[in-house]
């Protein structure tokens, strides 16, 4: 079931939650809505679910306009950050709820419901908890039950609102791998909201990066990480070094470096910002080529399998570099040492608002 979102606008009082959002979600894809809090991602998800009404614009499921349809009729599965399990019902009754509230004519028999619920509980690997109550389960278990409950009604679309947001890091990592595998098994069109870029990168087929009610970029996790479309995406997705400079007819002058900026051929002596990922910073003792600047090593710290090096160039700009452990061993850097920094894959943007 594909979803077509067209020109959705939504305001809450003076606050512009969604500003003309259009987005296509193809059948069977797992799409992440990624952005900082307040960017409108949850509002968009709730509009898809029919829990909020857009001020204007339309939503279509598989070509059929559902903008005016009630949540009840949209056949969406919704998973909440805080699970929203029915607290006074057993796990079994929670999962069975969507089937037992159906009108008599379309309601499966008791035995069929039982079979279906147990199959779903097996799918989420929690069939042994059927008789328990939500408060007896851990957070991770609750969220898997919530997912089973949403899947019980065979939704056309699965919507997840920060599904792992309330869980601790370890469970969160396990659960998102598990969600990815589950999606590969059942292939229901899914949209999930997250502010965690790692989560979006790891789980989704496509990432939609949002900021202040607008879509900044739509792309595969690789595209979003390696070729961000806007400065915002650069900063939001992954760590980044940032250099101020000027751009003139396709060339950016950043410090002592001349960096090609073919996208900005029209600009004449305009202020610009250059972005470089820390792992795209090379450190050498000998100057290699034009695109290197002298710098001083300030600090070296180890983070897991990486070595992070803090440097400072001649203009006192801080530069962050990430080396592999073997790369760092090979270099044998010491704090206070003078080296050359050579940025690669530099992306230049015009400074916004100027």
């Amino acid at each position: 079931m594909s979803i077509a979102i067209r020109n959705i606008k939504k305001r809450f009082g003076q606050f512009n939650a969604l500003n003309d959002i259009s987005l296509d979600i193809p059948t069977g894809e797992l799409v992440a809505l990624l952005g900082p809090s307040g960017c409108g991602k949850t509002t968009l998800l709730r509009i898809i679910a029919g829990m909020e009404l857009p001020d204007s614009g339309s939503i279509a499921f598989h070509g059929e306009d559902t903008t005016e349809k009630h949540t009840r009729e949209r056949q969406v599965g919704f998973v909440f950050q805080h699970y929203a399990l029915f607290r006074h019902m057993s796990v079994f009754d929670n999962v069975a709820f969507g089937l037992t509230v159906r009108p008599r004519a379309s309601r499966p028999s008791k035995e069929e419901i039982r079979q279906r619920v147990m199959d779903l509980l097996k799918l989420v690997q929690l069939d042994w908890l059927a008789e328990r109550y939500p408060h007896e389960l851990s957070g991770g278990q609750r969220q898997r039950i919530a997912l089973a409950r949403a899947l019980a009604v065979e939704p056309k679309v699965l919507l997840l609102d920060e599904p792992f947001g309330a869980l601790d890091t370890k469970v969160r990592k396990e659960l998102r791998r598990w969600l990815r595998r589950l999606h590969d098994e059942i292939h229901v069109t899914s949209v999930f909201v997250t502010h965690d870029q790692d989560e979006a990168m790891e789980v989704s087929d496509r990432v939609v990066v949002m900021n202040s009610g607008k879509i900044e970029q739509i792309g595969s996790p690789d595209e979003v990480y390696h070729s961000p479309a806007t400065p915002f995406v650069y900063q939001f997705v992954g760590n980044v070094n940032l250099f101020h400079g000027r751009v003139h007819e396709g060339w950016a002058r950043i410090g002592a470096m001349d960096i090609p900026a073919p996208d900005l051929g029209q600009a004449t002596d305009a202020p610009a910002i250059a972005y470089v990922r820390p792992h795209d910073i090379w450190i050498t003792r000998e100057r290699e080529g034009e695109l290197c600047v002298p710098a001083v090593v300030k600090d070296i710290s180890r983070i897991g399998s990486l070595v992070r090096v803090e440097l400072e160039d001649e203009d006192h700009n801080e530069i962050q570099a990430e080396l592999t452990r073997s790369g760092a061993q090979h270099l044998q850097l010491n704090a206070g040492e003078k080296v050359f920094v050579c940025p690669r894959n530099v992306k230049v943007f015009l400074e916004p608002g100027k």
Binding site: M51, R72, F78, F80, F86, H88, V101, H135
Partner: protein, 288 residues
């Protein structure tokens, strides 16, 4: 440093712990107050009621006017409490789960009976529905008597006990949020199914608590009822009013006998209230 310091149990909340004599003094003051203003009066009700023996006590309760007062009190409560139950649930559901214009006005209005003197509440109904009142002539024409009759008593009681259930449910429902309802609707449940299977079970203990308080007030209300009742013995006297009538006739044994029933009602209410509170707390600690 002595060993005692190491082995002595560390008192909790050491920062807010008062000196021993302060604690004993506070407890003593509380006990004196409770004894003087609660236990002694309560005891005296029963002592006075049984002054002439158990037989006299039963006689006083079996007397037709007393029986009629008891029946009337139960009747008024049986009508007023369910009505306020429906109203309280509806108001709390609307306020906690939906956003609409005039919501804060509605909350203020629900609280109104708490801030208005019950006597004034009764007077308002007399002014509205009494013979000299705005709607009096019309009502008289159609042979409907509200004031100095049972409907008036029910109206006044309804007004006074208006806020109890709604006030109990609103914070509870607000705390629970509306995610469970949203989940139910997304699973295809109708509004009624959502209410019946999700909302109502989640607030059942709060609701029961509200009903108990509402019932206690409905049966014990004096001021508002007194104004609209007209004190017709055997017809429009509820138990509290009957107690007053008997007392004014210097019929102390009978007055205290009926009063003892109200006192018993209070005790039962207290026990029921504690029981419900215990359940609510258990459920709450289970939910977290």
């Amino acid at each position: 440093m002595s060993n005692a310091n190491v082995t002595a149990p560390i008192p909790r909340n050491i920062a807010t712990r008062e000196a021993t004599w302060v604690r004993w003094l506070l407890i003593a003051i509380t006990l004196v107050f409770l004894t003087a203003f609660l236990f002694v009066p309560l005891l005296s009700v029963f002592v006075e009621a049984l002054r002439n023996g158990v037989d006299a006590y039963w006689e006083a309760l079996k007397e037709p006017d007393a029986l009629s007062a008891i029946k009337l009190t139960v009747l008024v409560a049986v009508i007023a409490v369910p009505l306020n139950l429906v109203f309280g649930l509806a108001a709390a559901w609307a306020i906690a789960k939906f956003e609409f214009r005039g919501k804060s006005l509605l909350i203020t209005l629900i609280d109104l009976p708490f801030s208005v003197s019950p006597v004034i509440a009764g007077l308002v109904y007399v002014l509205l529905f009494g013979l000299q009142g705005w709607m009096g002539p019309w009502l008289a024409e159609h042979d409907i008597q509200l004031i100095f009759a049972v409907p008036g008593l029910v109206l006044a009681t309804l007004f006074v006990t208006f806020p109890f259930i709604a006030r109990e449910l609103i914070p509870l429902m607000q705390e629970q949020g509306k995610e469970e309802e949203e989940a139910a609707v997304s699973l295809g449940a109708s509004g009624w199914q959502t209410f019946w299977h999700v909302t109502l079970p989640n607030v059942k203990w709060g609701l029961l608590y509200g009903v108990i308080l509402c019932n206690a007030r409905a049966m014990g209300e004096f001021g508002a009822v007194s104004v609209v009742s007209g004190h017709i013995r055997g017809f429009t006297n509820t138990m509290p009013l009957h107690v007053e009538v008997l007392y004014n006739e210097y019929n102390f044994v009978a007055a205290f006998a009926v009063a003892s029933l109200l006192a018993l009602l209070a005790l039962v209410t207290l026990i029921a209230k504690t029981w419900v509170e215990w359940h609510t707390q258990r459920e709450r600690s289970a939910a977290h």
